[in-house]
């Protein structure tokens, strides 16, 4: 069986967990508090980030998008990138949007301030950083709304890895109760649709000890 080193509130880990479910691939999850920089973990991935995927005894994969592409190649059904080079380019552009731009401007800050600092005993969050992240989040939700208004799913007609990446990031933020859904109706309608997929169930059941999600987190009719 595949083994996935992950952290519950790592968006890139969640992206792979949902992708694996969509493909009905069984995986053993191992929690990794990557910020502790455990020596054995750094030997698997010198970048020191989750997710890391083990396939068999001697194949160690890292970088979440390299892993996602590997899963698409080795278990192509259902395909989550799109049916043409052009469609796949759009899916990949949006995956990168969330894994790089959204990460850099929103998720990284919120997770660092609200989760890693707390679990690492580094004190409370910096309110100025939280404010900046909330400001950036608003812009990203507008972009999600803009896409959702024009398309069935974020990258086009079909559900794709772009929806998975976006929802993976937003679900982490949502766990920390930072999403003003009421001001973003189109984004909310899209998120409700993605959230109701069976592949999202496990993620909505996540509970980090000592850090409960808000009531609406797992609610499909939030």
């Amino acid at each position: 069986m595949l083994v996935l080193y992950h952290f519950w509130l790592s968006p890139q880990s969640r992206k792979l967990r949902v992708q694996l479910r969509e493909k009905s691939i069984e995986v053993e999850l191992r929690e990794e508090r990557y910020w502790e920089r455990r020596r054995e973990f750094l030997a698997l991935n010198p970048v020191g980030e989750v997710p890391v995927l083990l396939d068999g005894d001697n194949l160690v994969l890292s970088d979440s998008q390299a892993i996602a592409e590997y899963l698409e190649e080795t278990q192509p059904r259902p395909g989550l990138l799109g049916g043409s080079p052009r469609q796949r380019a759009e899916t990949r552009r949006l995956v990168a949007w969330f894994d790089r731009k959204f990460e850099r401007e929103v998720s990284h800050y919120l997770l660092r301030e609200k989760v890693v600092k707390r679990l690492n005993g580094e004190g409370g969050p910096d309110s100025e950083v939280l404010r900046a992240a909330a400001y950036n989040l608003d812009y990203h939700l507008q972009y999600v709304g803009y896409l959702a208004e024009r398309r069935n799913y974020l990258a086009g007609d079909e559900f794709s890895l772009a929806d998975i990446a976006a929802a993976a990031h937003l679900s982490c933020i949502d766990y920390l109760s930072d999403v003003a859904w009421e001001r973003h109706g189109e984004a909310k309608a899209w998120y409700a649709k993605v959230k109701s997929r069976p592949s999202f169930r496990a993620i909505l059941a996540d509970h980090i000890v000592g850090m409960s999600p808000p009531k609406h987190y797992a609610n499909l009719d939030f």
Copy 2:
């Protein structure tokens, strides 16, 4: 003909320029000073980054890796990702290493401090930032050396997009004369091999007005 919006010292732009040459694809280059955030350019790519590729009248592609994958799919010869899912995962891991980790820890700082600030009239570089970037660069050159000692090319036996991405970043830094090659013999030998490929010629001929490269920059026997 394809059109590539690029900037001369953007590593991700150089990655695509070399990839296009390896595949013998003609491209029209258009320089974009992306930091000026020109409205027409932001309409092509709301992230505001180069490279952006236009293919025909109505296909606009952005995110350098989404474009690289598109080129691999539409013009597969010669293949630059590798022959198996496992090999492609390793190539993609290393491309991400340079385009994300190296970018974040080295290239972004050096290009911002030494190039963008100057062209934008923002004054001289911050020497503390330059020192931090130089410190990080040393670690990355050790990693390049580590890989080059064990493998023919960075990702394995064959020349790949990993070599292109790494050399694209290092060539930008080298243009700014910041690479202590003499302390990194293995990395230097690998770079000499990549630099001597015909696909690198155009990049070694780049000259930014008012900003000449050091003498060794285009020298194949540096």
